[in-house]
Symmetry: C2
Subunit: 381 residues, 2 copies
């Protein structure tokens, strides 16, 4: 799975080239918000760039629902694709690895190396499955805080950056550890899931848990409710895009058809695209993690019992830039703007920026010069 | 299933009271757009009000994907709910049964009495299942035309009215039978499915056809891919509502929970609501019909190969009113407006009206005084 880095001759200018992951094995008891405990956790992470002498140049990247710790560079020169945010992270890029020490970890509860429901429960020698504690965004952030402070010895992050579920983690960092992060850059995110976002997650969870192979979350590696997980992903993928973006990319384009195809085969290009998205997802993601992460998303509510976002955000001391995207209908601009409005009511240093793009929620992941400029400028001061 | 009407004492003023369905059994060969044929078809329908002497007061109501022929009144005074458009159809209501003879039929391919994939194939004595011909919106309309002209002897409808898939049928009436309909009132509809609408239907179809009980469409009555159908319905139901409407109705409201509930039980009210919608749908709908109807929707494209909507709409001679709803994101206002714009370019008598409501696509089905006024006025001249 992992190849050690070798001297690179092919490396492109501005590209990180080969990167490697590491495991932080924390043998301290980890207590979840729920009160449940694990005797210890492992957090898989990558770093790019060099930590400076006073450890003041570290930037934490927080990933979204289906992301992981591998956000830039390649693990092998045979890799088809680099990390998921390679366009924005690298030498000379907006998150400049010539200046910054960039950290990205697989969230607690994940399925790419960090402890999660697919990890082996030492008490049973079987995967935790549904015995894994229910976790919150704050739990994910607490695990990241252990990694950053205890393991890497960094007392204060230069910045925390992330989109979608990553943006929630960024906000939680500012609230849980106000003195351990100097800049917050959440984007395409929300301070609480609204009913429609919960609704889509609930359909996805039902597709998974009503798959006959769900078996109450007990299944071996590479098995389990793969059909349900594919259906969940196909649906969710629509919510990451936009009406206009889909129309421009696919419209009513037809798949080239053989004469004896069934009408139930993919007829339109959008159908073929979604089927591919569903199928490729089951090869890299775990259904239990999907359930746990979507529950963490749905329970995320910085408005809290009082209904006042200011109550949570009053703890923040970091400078904050929140970026919304016009075509994002999963976490639309008003939900992003509301975070900044509440921060400003608390007399915090906060700015809202809105980028006019057609690609929907996933706009934050694609080539976007305006986003690059915003990120670069925010990190420069 | 059917109780004959009895003298009503409970009937509310303005309510139709007891209604009954009828079957039109057409023994002529029915040729589908695909070239496939059935030796005959049955169309189940209801009528309300009285046909006048010159048969000039007939209004056809066309139903949406999950609707049926029972659009007003009750079949029995024990019925929990009246027909699906009872708020708009009845004595003194916008579609006034004191003036008009109202007809509504279950679409060809349906599962509420008209010939569809669940009907018995006389050649095999088993349900057609996947042997049922693939059908188009135009096929549904051709069957309605047989009902209206051959069976009911009406040469020209006063109006055809319908929302969503019903709106597509209304448009198709104007194109296929320009001299058989004087007024078209489609609403919350489109002249062609766009990529996003196809995408959601494709996820629904995949949920059904990848359910182990799908069995390639061969299953007995009350059996089949019920989980897949419920998942499809839950997802589709979200697309019928709106972000704002869901937020106002459910927000983050929690289900009252017992202490030992699993986090996989419905936690939020929206989850409980969607599960109920999925479960109740499988009790009244057939998965094959869902597949056939959504394919008919996805293939509906009045822009045609030329990409010019005018080419199809130039045939229309009826006066047309198209109504869009601001919060409808399945068939948003621009898609409704585009129909009228094309009709006007063809020098047709056409008007577009937009109603500002928060309930999404399903706005056309709910109490809406502005809609009532538009319908009443359109039918009065």
């Amino acid at each position: 799975m992992f190849e050690p880095p070798t001297a690179s001759t092919d490396q492109q200018p501005g590209e990180l080239g080969l990167v490697q992951w590491h495991d932080f094995v924390c043998r301290e008891e980890f207590v979840f918000d729920s009160g449940q405990k694990l005797p210890g956790i492992t957090i898989r992470y990558e770093t790019y760039g060099e930590l400076n002498a006073d450890k003041s140049n570290a930037i934490l990247i927080c990933h979204a629902l289906s992301g992981d710790h591998h956000c830039a560079g390649v693990h092998s020169f045979h890799d088809r694709k680099p990390g998921w945010w390679n366009n924005i992270i690298g030498p000379g890029k907006p998150v400049d690895t010539n200046k910054f020490f960039v950290i990205c970890s697989n969230c607690l509860g994940g399925c790419q190396g960090s402890t999660g429901p697919g990890s082996i429960n030492p008490e049973t020698n079987l995967p935790y499955g549904r015995d894994f504690p229910w976790l919150s965004i704050a739990d994910m952030v607490r695990a990241q805080h252990l990694l950053v402070t205890k393991h890497l010895g960094i007392s204060c992050l230069y910045a925390a950056i992330g989109g979608s579920m990553g943006g929630m983690q960024v906000l939680q960092w500012g609230i849980s550890y106000p003195h351990a992060v100097a800049r917050l850059l959440p984007m395409a995110t929300t301070a609480r899931q609204n009913a429609q976002a919960i609704a889509f997650n609930e359909v996805g969870r039902n597709a998974i848990t009503r798959d006959p192979d769900w078996n109450n979350g007990n299944y071996g590696r590479g098995k389990g409710p793969q059909t349900g997980l594919a259906i969940a992903r196909m649906m969710a993928h629509i919510t990451y895009l936009s009406d206009k973006g889909l129309e421009e990319k696919f419209g009513r384009g037809k798949v080239t058809a053989g004469s004896n195809r069934s009408p139930l085969d993919a007829e339109f290009e959008i159908e073929s695209y979604l089927r591919y998205q569903g199928q490729s997802f089951i090869n890299r993601f775990d259904a239990n993690t999907y359930i746990y992460f979507t529950k963490a998303l749905d329970r995320f509510d910085l408005f809290g019992p009082s209904g006042r976002l200011e109550d949570a955000l009053s703890a923040v001391s970091a400078r904050t830039l929140v970026i919304g995207f016009t075509s994002d209908w999963l976490f639309p601009p008003p939900q992003n703007r509301a975070i900044v409005q509440a921060l400003l009511r608390c007399k915090k240093h906060a700015t809202y920026a809105e980028i006019d793009m057609d690609l929907g929620h996933d706009s934050f992941l694609v080539e976007a010069p305006e986003l690059y400029t915003l990120v670069r400028n925010f990190l420069s001061v």
